[in-house]
Symmetry: C2
Subunit: 571 residues, 2 copies
């Protein structure tokens, strides 16, 4: 069956993608019409039209700032009828923003609502960076919904914002909530004591919704864009946002979530988190850590978004939550910063590596999580190191280290002599077949190591994970007692030991914070300028926030060269 496909090109007009979607949907319902494509003349859109058999010769020749309307129908008459309704439909649609005067620029909007702290940007990606720069020039915080913004632009915009004590949330930031007003895609959630920082749009929505479902509420929820915790961006927005909420008197508990982050960036962020005086619930997707009921720290790991919300609500409701991690930096001297783990049990070593990954992203080992962290020489530790003495390489022709303590006592001495070491972690596995009395050999070695470190002018903490029962030949309680008497900290599982160690080591050393964002931004009843999707302005209005929508058009008719000249002229 033959069909008719026709295109109309409208030069130099611009409509946002939601308006075009609605127009397209309406036209599709016309009698005799089988398909409709309405898009700006970008190359990617032409490709889409082609896939849907809607790309005519006229459409192919359209410029970036031209609107293409392609209609496919049964016959010429039906297609013409549909075209004749386009203007009517567009003019009817034009009414969702109830604003007498539509300014053409952010500057003009700023003159209408100078106290606005916010600019929402949802123009097509290629134009977004320019719009954000204009907003920053006017000292506005930016909610950048647009996607398809380059990484280079993201980095330069965020650095510029940070220097000016302003936030750029995004690009590709889908959602945020400030003072009960949702930006972009935002659920209606109760106000309450919990603040959220999220490098993850639906993650923020899931957590905020669940907090509401559980009867609690949020102060502010700050999106950062999904790339913020990448190595390149370095978590600039997350660090600003965390600091902002740490300083906000209304926020009692903070939830920190992210799509799989760069481990070193995540670790730097946790260092800021642990240094503050509020409980912080963390869920980095793909990096779940056992949730330990840790009574000494303000840092709590959740293993899912839902659990993060539940934990935050629980913490907000408990009066006895630690406000900050118990710190022992005072004990260590400058330069002490490393962990050395000496294990006889391979699984305990491996579980420890997985738990510590959240705190210490780089740990060298003979059984490392990543190949690049394989020890060059197993006999010599590098930075943070965990060594499994039960591996084949150590057990040829000699008893397993659960039987023979000599190798690890030797290693303990070696590590204790290293002035850069702060904590040494050992495991002790009891039971038949293992050493008949490990404490008899290890406790004196531990005492000696601590004493010799003290004599050399540095502190040393020794943590022991002990596995066993009170019916074991060595007796668990008696072994624990003697190890504690030697000043070891003793735990019965890797989770408790490693959570403690991670927190201690994160607390060491100085933190370089970014300049604090002006806290006024959290105090103001939201007032905003909206550039891009009209529907975002409408939804702010629906939430009773004051908003000025800008009748934005691509600058220089979408011509890239002209755009960059204009951009430079404004500086």
């Amino acid at each position: 069956m033959m069909a008719v496909i026709k295109s109309e090109i409208r030069k130099g007009v611009y409509f946002d993608s939601v308006i075009l979607m609605e127009l397209q949907a309406s036209l599709r319902h016309f009698p005799g019409v089988s398909n409709v494509g309405i898009m700006m003349g970008l190359d990617t859109n032409k490709e889409l039209l082609k896939q849907n058999d809607l790309l005519t010769k006229e459409a192919e020749s359209a410029a970036q700032d031209d609107l293409i309307i392609s209609i496919k129908g049964k016959d010429d008459k039906d297609v013409q009828k549909a075209f004749s309704e386009v203007d009517n439909l567009l003019s009817k649609r034009r009414s969702i923003v109830r604003q007498k005067y539509l300014p053409k620029s952010i500057e003009a909007a700023d003159r209408m609502l100078p106290e606005a702290h916010w600019v929402l940007v949802s123009v097509p990606g290629i134009y977004a960076a320019g719009v954000v720069r204009e907003a920053l020039r006017l000292k506005k915080n930016v909610f950048l919904y647009s996607d398809n913004v380059s990484l280079q632009d993201e980095i330069s915009l965020k650095k510029e914002a940070s220097d000016q004590r302003l936030l750029v949330m995004g690009p590709d930031c889908g959602t945020a909530i400030f003072n009960n007003i949702g930006f972009g895609f935002a659920n209606r959630v109760r106000q309450g004591p919990i603040g959220v920082v999220a490098a993850s749009g639906t993650g923020l929505q899931q957590v905020a919704s669940r907090i509401h479902q559980l009867g609690s509420g949020i102060t502010h929820a700050i999106g950062t864009g999904g790339r913020d915790l990448s190595k390149d961006v370095g978590g600039i927005t997350a660090r600003q946002a965390l600091q902002l909420l740490q300083n906000d008197p209304d926020t009692k508990v903070i939830v920190l979530i992210s799509k799989p982050p760069d481990l070193e960036v995540a670790s730097a962020l946790l260092k800021e988190a642990i240094s503050g005086n509020k409980p912080i619930v963390v869920n980095f997707i793909g990096l779940p850590s056992p949730t330990i009921d840790n009574k000494e720290s303000n840092l709590h790991f959740a293993s899912s978004l839902d659990e993060a919300a539940e934990l935050a609500v629980k913490l907000a409701n408990s009066p006895d939550v630690p406000k900050s991690a118990k710190k022992s930096q005072s004990m260590f001297v400058k330069g002490q910063r490393y962990l050395r783990g000496i294990f006889s049990g391979g699984t305990l070593a491996q579980e420890s590596l997985f738990i510590l990954r959240n705190y210490l992203p780089v740990i060298y080992s003979n059984i490392p999580l990543k190949k690049e962290y394989k020890l060059a020489d197993v006999r010599k530790s590098q930075q943070h190191t965990i060594i499994d003495l039960g591996e084949d390489e150590f057990t040829v022709g000699r008893p397993h280290p659960m039987i023979d303590n000599s190798l690890r006592i030797e290693r303990l001495r070696q590590e204790a002599a290293d002035a850069a070491v702060a904590i040494i972690l050992l495991d002790v596995v009891l039971g038949y077949g293992t050493h008949p009395d490990p404490a008899a050999e290890l406790a004196p070695a531990i005492s000696e190591a601590i004493t010799s470190a003290e004599k050399a002018g540095h502190a040393l903490e020794i943590v022991v994970i002990i596995v066993g029962t009170n019916e074991d030949p060595q007796n668990l309680a008696s072994q624990i007692k003697r190890l504690k008497a030697a000043d070891a900290r003793v735990e019965t599982n890797a989770g408790a030991a490693c959570t403690y160690i991670g927190q201690q080591l994160l607390s060491l050393g100085k933190i370089d914070r970014l300049p604090a964002v002006d806290p006024d931004v959290l105090k103001q009843t939201v007032k905003a300028i909206n550039v891009g999707l009209e529907s975002f302005a409408a939804s702010l209005s629906a939430q009773s926030a004051e908003v000025i929508h800008v009748d934005w058009r691509p600058p220089a008719g979408g011509n890239k060269n002209l755009m960059s000249i204009l951009e430079r002229m404004k500086k």
Copy 2:
């Protein structure tokens, strides 16, 4: 200061490594002695002696089955004095096994204790495979403590054992418990209702100890060796052990733990786990899944070893635990097996990929967990697929899929038409800025997809993750109601949805089980033959188990060529 180093070579003698360790420790305390190395003449041991400055010319020339005794001391007199005490110390030590007659071979031991089900093997790695083959010939189950056994030997030994309905636990199997008797390194734990399968030695010890600490106990705990769940070995021992415990009437709950496993092997094992009629707690280290309080399945994921123990005890104490997963295979027809996830929220898609990884190791995506699972063409699904329609590639020049449902309805139709698809997963995110009434468009599309699949002769299940609150403009409760009316299964988080889906899909299709190990092995009061470390025989005796220790020597004087000739002659 000068020192004297001397070596004595004892030709063709053999002592186990624990005995040599004790001798070495005793000699080190002699006056004037600074270091001692006592080892069999293996190349690796010579390397160790060299590192410790104990390798003399005599030691260098020692053969594999020669015992090297190297002593470093102040002067000749002290060193000679130490050498003269060696025999005295060795003869004193020789008494830990109270056995009138020491057989020289497993055959001879078998004649003394023919009803023994077990052979414990802890000889040096290079000799271990030969000893295990001999044990299998005598129809014994094997506890293989030895490490440094080749992967090829492990595979061939396990296949041979499986064909004979016997277990080979190991190599490098540190621990096991049968009927209250610990093998190798084993804690003394209460008998109780929980069985353990562990590709992880200290993992088994940690879980068993914690179960005991919590007041419960275990039936049997079966180690498999750390490589059992690798791609090459394919989980042979774990699959045998799981089946054995699934068939054991005394075992009410099973704990299944492993060092980081091969994902496809883990998935095959879970398929057997879910098909059984007992609750199973799973902790694969490095692969923690959110623990979902799933009321429909027998499979429970723990995020740490400790939590695995706690969960098992809880399940053993609850009367209402599901004995097997609710299965709906009957609903699907042959050939239906794939999941297709169509997401608008990137984080929900990513969290789903992480949770499902435990069940479905290979999921293709435009945002895959591993590069090799990147979709070749995002418009076409392959096998299990999860697609994030919110990614930049889909949003150029068109509204986000949270606003515009058209792309995903189109994809929903496409997936529903694929007869290999069993389940389709969608997310629906409510709130300001998103589609004003997604159910109005999605519910009819869901109904239609289910109906058209039915007409085409296959079943289709559609699962929806919905995020929102009852104060959202779309109203959560009303959206859920209408989606349910369209026969969708609706969950409010990715955890519940993906746990359900993973279990449904794991339940599909046939399972090829290995031949069942003879259940008598669990009924017998442990009787065993011990080949290798004397201390293991002694610890069995201490637990009142009957044991015959073999006075084992390296075959053919440790000569590899001769060994392999002898080996072939026995076949």
